[in-house]
Symmetry: C2
Subunit: 248 residues, 2 copies
Amino acid sequence: MLERLEETGLSEAMLPDQLHLPEEAQTLLCKLIHAHKRSYPAGTLLKLEGDDTGSVFLVLSGWLLASKTLADGQRQIVDIILSGGILEPTSATPGVSALEVETLTDMTVAAIPRSRWHDACGQFRDLAELDHQISDAAMSRMAERMTRLGKAAAETVITYALCELCLRSTAHGLVEGMTFHIPMTQQQLGDFCGLSAVHICRTLRRLERNEVLSVTDHMDIVVHDLATMAAIAEIDIDTLRQEIIPVA
Amino acid sequence: MLERLEETGLSEAMLPDQLHLPEEAQTLLCKLIHAHKRSYPAGTLLKLEGDDTGSVFLVLSGWLLASKTLADGQRQIVDIILSGGILEPTSATPGVSALEVETLTDMTVAAIPRSRWHDACGQFRDLAELDHQISDAAMSRMAERMTRLGKAAAETVITYALCELCLRSTAHGLVEGMTFHIPMTQQQLGDFCGLSAVHICRTLRRLERNEVLSVTDHMDIVVHDLATMAAIAEIDIDTLRQEIIPVA
DNA sequence: CGTCCTTTTGAGAGCGATCAAGCGGGGTGG
DNA sequence: CCACCCCGCTTGATCGCTCTCAAAAGGACG
């Protein structure tokens, strides 16, 4: 899992540079990032459930995961945040959150104190709008996944999750024949899709037998029949991209 | 359903008044609301899926619903917005959304053009923070419900939904012996919980037989055994309130 | 080479979906 | 005022998807 970190193709420098922010805002952003940049290995718990949640996490590289666990031990991965994403583990009461935050890969994040971040957003409207747009994208992909969690077949949830993560993590997007990697175990993918690890395995095998896709070597995925895949996932690729990929 | 509209106990005037906004911001907010206030009967479609989505909906009274429908006809109610709530049906690409918006009760909303709303937020930091806090609350309750949609038992999803809606819609909150009303059919509750209407019915009946709660007269609900109810829903009431009810 | 974690596959059970029929209440029209 | 209809609720029967338990195989790492 570790050696695959670079695959996302997004450099740490990307975040402030490619955003059309006014110079002052960009300077402030860079300063904030610089002051709070941290690196963590895969599998690090950044925040426990119920923890004080003083930080806004700016993902600079790698994959971050936000989850909730019920009393009976069932866990749901609520969202996955990639490079350029922002996670603000909060709720209706500022500073209270019931999210667990964990690294999926080796990664670097800027853990910016909530108040600092809000000050910066208050000061620069463009920054606030960026923050807003990023959280709109998060809301949108959560809504999309939630729709499938409810009643859709396992096939549908899983293929949707793969489509979402491929679209978001690769520059080329969802293309037939190209390999993309998902740095998650079947157990984690199960927690993401609301399914047991065993059923993830069976369903992936079946999709392979039907020549829709193939999975090798710890979640290297190749889509062989994109049309069928999109049909099973119940998506229209272009529409989905618009919904969940922020425009540059 | 219609004659129950007043039950929420929230007057239209509530929104701008009870927020500690600076006077100018409040004036602007009132002006915006006044200019775009509309009333609709229950069951009105405010926005079709894929529609142009030029408006931010400020709920002044009544219940609003945001849903998605898959190709196979399965529908998921993504969120329900009550008085004082804000719904911005958008996504990563501003102006693109795949949400359907529909009134659950007779209601009044202010449908404010997106750009107007953003201008106002850009102008007054307090307004932006209010907007942010309200969407944090929405995110939080979506995460909470999503966690149960995934693998929890039907009982758990349903009781959780009832707890959420009671906490949010009544001033007294979740109390044993008090009646609260949910203006939804079992079909709609099913779409909210990811369950079939038939199974909603069976589960409610079973909860009644076990003397946890009773349901009469089109979703008038009384909780008889709050401790058991909370256990089934897998919630801690105070924690949940903090997470999903914005502090005044 | 042994240990631990992940994946794979089998067998069985259970929860919730679907199909179908009957009930009940409120509104409408005769 | 009654008859009817429509819609939502209720209940039964059956089916099938997904869970759980279990065991074994494959890899990574010390």
